[in-house]
């Protein structure tokens, strides 16, 4: 399936435009910029909604006073020198596949706008609705197989396609108890009959063909084709159906919580050809009882699902082509408050990234002894945004042509975090 406006189109468009007018526009220098061969094909974003206390997870301060150190011990991992939280027991064995970025920083300690910033790599602006990472990826890369390319479970509301238009919005599957209407032909539908009906439809569609050069008509035609292929292959329903997995696998991911199930579904979707999957887990806004909430609920869930995902990807030899990214809006205050909680803190926080060209068994950046500020290698949400795009083969200073004819630069502010790459 070749989707116009997506990557293939853009490449042709770019060489056409730049090639023909390069001399005139004086752009010849940029035209040959991207010859990088991307290793990453897919992205799984684990979104910890509410802002995780990364100081208790990935960047502990064992030598700081009680009021900062907190209740958890830092323990060694399979990578000498890297320590993480004692309650991430399974992840301890997998740090050799991951990079911890410990020097993220931004300036908005508020959930709504900060999730926009983290997901879009742009400060929120009312005049421009910036697209989230998943929508950009979907827009720029051609689909690998007939299945929705950008899918989100329990996703934050900032995960939208912005100026790219609704066609690039994530396929939202929130509070998914069962498979909703419209994803599958269902048991009662006869496949042959469906195919016949589609053929009949296509004949009635011919009257509309003479409107061919209208943008809406062109995209409808493509969507019709995609929709048919997805439904005929029943790809999304099959991928979402976890009864095909063994019980032990389901338990390993954590069958008690929908989060574990969704992470397992994410793996299955990526295997089936989805480019970008977001899985949200809420409850991280731990202003009170930070430690008991983490220890008893959040960390075990995350540990089970994330470790299972990583080891499955390794086992299937998919980690080199799949980026796993685990983060939230920001971090939490180094100082513990009166309710044994931690409040909002965006001046320093960590993210875990793995696969797709990120370094393995590495730490990037460090914070001061109290975890207040990054000391080295400060990086911004835009930088991380640019880095993920870079790994999937998209240059973030590339322009996207909107249906209105306007050219939008994806992101001019971020720099690829070269030090975090393999």
């Amino acid at each position: 399936m070749l989707i116009q406006n997506r990557r293939s189109f853009l490449r042709i468009g770019a060489s056409g435009l730049f090639g023909a007018h390069a001399a005139f526009l004086g752009l010849s220098k940029n035209a040959s910029a991207a010859t990088f061969e991307p290793g990453a094909q897919n992205v799984i974003l684990i979104w910890l909604d509410g802002a995780p206390s990364s100081i208790d997870m990935w960047d502990l301060k064992p030598n700081a006073p009680d009021t900062v150190r907190g209740e958890f011990k830092a323990v060694s991992t399979d990578v000498p020198g890297i320590q993480i939280c004692e309650h991430l027991t399974k992840m301890r064995q997998l740090m050799s596949h991951c990079t911890l970025i410990r020097s993220l920083q931004h300036s908005i300690p508020e959930h709504g706008p900060a999730s926009q910033l983290m997901l879009t790599g742009h400060l929120p602006s009312a005049s421009e609705q910036y697209p989230a990472l998943g929508s950009v990826t979907m827009k720029m890369l051609s689909p690998k197989s007939p299945i929705p390319q950008n899918i989100a479970f329990d996703s934050p509301s900032a995960n939208t396609s912005g100026y790219l238009g609704s066609a690039y919005n994530p396929f939202l599957l929130n509070n998914m108890a069962s498979i909703p209407v419209g994803l599958s032909l269902g048991l009662e539908t006869d496949r042959d009959l469906f195919d016949q009906r589609i053929q009949l439809r296509d004949r009635f569609e011919q009257a509309y063909d003479h409107l061919g050069n209208d943008g809406t008509v062109v995209s409808l035609k493509q969507l019709h084709k995609e929709a048919k292929e997805i439904l005929m292959s029943d790809s999304i329903r099959k991928a979402l159906d976890i009864s095909k997995e063994t019980e032990s696998t389901r338990n390993r991911y954590g069958s008690q919580s929908s989060f574990g199930t969704n992470v397992l579904r994410a793996r299955r979707l990526v295997e089936a050809g989805t480019r970008f999957v977001t899985v949200g887990l809420s409850g991280w806004d731990t202003h009170t009882n930070n430690f008991s909430q983490l220890k008893n609920g959040l960390l075990p869930q995350l540990d089970a699902a994330l470790s299972s995902l990583l080891s499955d990807l390794v086992e299937r030899d998919m980690l080199s082509s799949t980026i796993v990214c685990c983060l939230g809006e920001f971090g939490r205050t180094p100082n513990i408050n009166g309710n044994v909680g931690r409040d909002h803190w965006s001046r320093s926080f960590s993210a875990l990234v793995a696969g797709g060209g990120f370094a393995a068994g590495a730490v990037y950046g460090e914070t001061d002894e109290f975890g207040q500020e990054p000391l080295t290698n400060l990086c911004t949400p835009s930088d991380l945004f640019a880095t993920v795009l870079h790994l999937v083969g998209i240059q973030s200073n590339e322009s996207i042509k909107l249906p209105s004819g306007r050219l939008m630069k994806i992101n001019e502010q971020g720099n690829v975090i070269a030090g975090a790459l393999a």
């Binding site: 007018h21 539908t189 009635f204 509309y208 050069n213 209208d214 409808l220 019709h224």
Partner: protein, 795 residues
């Protein structure tokens, strides 16, 4: 020596400009030609250096405009504070400039990468930028002289027509300052072409690429100006198009056709009656016509039948409901701040009813807006009457509340967006009012100078100060009335009379103590001031003064904004698009037409229905969606009707119309929420606007994968089709009967509001012939029609 350098600079500049006819002096003050002495005044920080810092992106948020600065140098964001920028940039101690040997200055060495620069290379050694900076330093890097702010920016020629014989043209951007001094700033501007597929710009030249119309946008020192670029097709338009421009057509068509002829684009012919009727119904009433209505309309021989149908639709209360819903979207009826959620449904219904009543009686639009802007909860009621009314309403149940509310003079709900204590969210209200009634988005100016528009943070705050008297809570008067009432009740209780419960009471009222925002730089007070207007009086009702300013017939924003929004309702995009982004950087696709519509609207006494009537009766609106002739893709120039996805409501109603289900049209729903789960699911998938956003960004009329998949795979829909088919075929005897031309036509009319073409009729009849089961055959056909692009679009 200095002469030699001057000659060198001259050469370099000439090279950099790429045009030998230009003197470098053009770049500097016009008096400065020639002598080195007068050149001392030539390169000015405010006129040359700072605009270049903007052009080069140095003062952007990601670079030195960051609140922390970058690499030790901090500039004001987008050049909002020239004084601060001068001090930072001319800091000799840190080596940024070196007056003795200018070329050693870091401001030259870093951007040209002679010394490592975090922001990369911004210009080359010897470039125009380099030379301007160097010259400024060489001339002493002097402090600003007395401020002489920019008054006007102009691009000439204002219209630039290019073609194969003349593929390139040069242009000039001229700044005029308060003192009257003029300066050619072409080389100091950021230059951009709105549609880069039509033309390209380099230095002082525009070059055409392909036929079309676009704009050159020049930004200098935070101000923008533009010029129109026209690249006509090299062909004659057909006689028909050119004839139509001259005579029989109304002024709307004349203005559109004039542009089409200029560009060499043929317009499409008028659409047929059935297409017209479907289009009219769906846009004005929200749902398609039923079979009988189509037959009657098409069969009618009255030459004035289209006009009459338009009048009939516009007068319908369903149409008033469609407009009311649109107003609720524009004004964000569901964005209620910290208001309790459970009341949402009730509040929405009231909002909608208030607007519907007004559109029903075609109230003057300026009067309608006035009653939003100066709204209070009590209108003219005394506080005691207000309390009594509330008690009375509370006793008599809530049923008629929306109808009652529609009778209320002013829309106080608009202001009920609770923040904390008695405060409403002034800034969000200011942003909303600006976007809704001026068509200007000012959000960016909340935190910093608007990056591409003229608005500063102080403009934003002064505008917000118009609304800082508004409170939501209990005014002194209401408190007194309540305590009187309570006393009265206590006395009554003492005498054992039954008392009526007093419900919780709040009101929108004006406080004598406005919570004014102050100036960003020195905390000085900022008098309330409309964008681009004169300051208003601070005492008395500021909203009243604002309304007078806004609704004045000469206000350049108000009427233009509304006619543009109405145009957008009918054509799917505004003459200025997005509709709330009026700005020098976003020119109207047909400026003359926009002006004409606005003037007519004002002259008519802000008559909404008259405006709609004029638009709907135009040939442009009634054109076919088919392209006429080669490559006339320009839907934005209205050579043909632009295709778009129907709104969620219209999809739901089209389905029940096609299946002849008895149901209230969802267009008449006052609320965002639907009546059933299935409808709600369709609303979600087909993106019904949420009525929350402050900008016009909730409407998506682009198709999505989810939509196509839903219509294809919804088993519930298949069953509804089966139910319809069974009933429909019940009265027919044989399969041949079902496959008759008349019956197949009925299926097409239900689903697509048109008759089948002979080819389609043949396909349908063949299908009946091939299928043993006639119910199945009919269901297949209807299902297929529902799944066509035609069904889900307006065309």
């Amino acid at each position: 020596m200095s002469k030699v350098i001057d000659t060198m600079i001259h050469r370099l500049l000439v090279l950099a400009l790429g045009l030998t006819c230009l003197s470098p002096a053009r770049l500097f003050a016009q008096s400065s030609i020639g002598s080195a002495e007068s050149n001392k005044e030539a390169v000015r920080f405010d006129r040359h250096v700072q605009p270049l810092l903007s052009k080069l992106g140095c003062n952007a948020g990601a670079c030195h405009g960051n609140s922390e600065g970058r690499g030790g140098l901090r500039l004001s964001l987008f050049g909002a504070d020239p004084k601060m920028d001068f001090l930072a940039f001319s800091d000799e101690q840190s080596g940024r400039i070196d007056r003795k040997s200018p070329s050693q200055s870091l401001v030259l060495q870093k951007p040209s990468m002679i010394v490592e620069h975090g922001g990369g290379q911004r210009f080359e050694n010897g470039s125009l930028e380099y030379e301007t900076f160097r010259r400024w330093i060489e001339l002493g890097a002097v402090e600003l002289e007395k401020p002489d702010p920019l008054r006007e920016l102009e691009v000439s020629p204002a219209t630039c027509k290019l073609n194969q014989t003349e593929p390139e043209k040069s242009f000039q951007v001229v700044a005029t300052f308060q003192s009257g001094e003029k300066l050619d700033v072409t080389a100091l501007c950021t230059l951009r072409i709105a549609d880069e597929s039509v033309a390209a710009v380099q230095k002082q030249t525009i070059k055409c690429l392909q036929p079309g119309k676009t704009f050159l946008i020049a930004t200098y020192a935070g101000r923008s100006a533009n010029a129109t670029i026209i690249v006509p097709r090299e062909r004659e338009v057909s006689a028909k198009t050119s004839r139509s421009a001259s005579s029989e057509h109304g002024p709307i068509d004349q203005l559109i056709d004039k542009q089409l002829i200029e560009l060499g684009i043929d317009s499409s012919p008028s659409c047929d009656d059935a297409t017209f009727l479907r289009r009219l119904r769906l846009t004005t009433l929200g749902s398609p016509p039923d079979v009988e209505t189509i037959k009657r309309f098409v069969g009618n021989n009255d030459p004035k039948k289209r006009e009459k149908a338009i009048d009939e639709c516009l007068a319908s209360s369903l149409h008033a409901s469609v407009l009311a819903t649109r107003m609720c979207e524009i004004l964000g009826s569901r964005d209620t701040g910290n208001f309790p959620n459970r009341l949402e449904h009730e509040l929405e219904t009231k909002w909608h009813a208030w607007f519907q009543a007004r559109f029903d009686r075609n109230e003057r639009y300026d009067v309608l807006v006035r009653h939003i802007l100066v709204a209070t909860s009590r209108d003219q009621l005394s506080a005691m009457d207000y309390v009594d009314n509330a008690i009375h309403a509370n006793e008599n149940g809530q049923k008629s509340e929306a109808t009652e509310y529609a009778k209320k003079a002013s829309l106080d709900l608009f202001w009920q967006r609770w923040k904390v204590n008695e405060e409403v969210d002034f800034e969000s209200l200011a942003e909303r009012i600006s976007a809704a009634f001026l068509g200007v988005r000012i959000e960016c100016a909340k935190c910093h100078k608007h990056p591409f528009d003229r608005w500063t943070q102080d403009d934003y705050r002064a505008f917000s100060n118009i609304f800082t008297q508004v409170r939501y809570g209990m005014s002194g008067e209401l408190r007194i009335a309540l305590s009187d009432k309570l006393q009265e009740q206590r006395a009554a209780t003492a005498s054992e009379t039954r008392t009526k419960r007093i419900p919780p009471l709040h009101e929108i009222y004006l406080s004598k103590k406005p919570f004014d925002f102050v100036k960003t730089t020195d905390n000085a007070s900022l008098p309330p001031k409309p964008l681009a207007g004169e300051p208003l009086r601070s005492d008395g009702d500021r909203r009243e003064y604002f309304a007078i300013w806004l609704l004045d017939q000469s206000n350049p924003y108000f009427a233009r904004n509304f006619v543009n929004r109405v145009w957008d309702i009918y054509f799917g995009s505004g003459l200025v698009d997005p509709v709330d982004a009026f700005s020098a950087t976003n020119s109207p696709s047909n400026a003359e037409l926009l002006d004409f519509l606005a003037n007519e609207f004002v002259k008519s006494g802000f008559d909404v229905r008259q405006l709609e009537t004029a638009i709907l009766n135009s040939h442009a609106w009634q054109r076919s969606a088919k392209a006429n002739g080669e490559g006339s893709s320009g839907t934005e120039l209205y050579a043909r009707f632009p295709v778009r996805i129907l709104p969620a409501c219209a999809i739901v109603d089209s389905l029940s119309n096609a299946l002849r289900e008895e149901s209230t049209p969802t267009t008449s729903l006052p609320t965002f929420a639907a009546g059933s789960d299935t409808q709600q699911y369709y609303f979600d998938v087909f993106s019904r606007p949420e009525r929350k956003s402050r900008c016009d960004c909730e409407r998506f009329d682009h198709p999505t994968l989810r939509q196509s998949m839903l219509l294809l795979s919804d088993e519930g829909l298949s069953k509804r089709i089966d139910v319809f088919v069974e009933k429909w075929l019940g009265g027919m005897d044989s399969k041949e009967d079902c496959a008759s031309e008349e019956h197949i036509a009925e299926l097409f009319l239900s689903a697509l509001a048109r008759w089948p073409t002979p080819a389609e009729l043949r396909v349908a009849q063949e299908h009946f012939a091939n299928k043993s089961n006639r119910d199945q055959a009919a269901a297949d056909i209807l299902w297929s029609l529902i799944n066509t692009s035609e069904f889900v679009t307006l065309h």
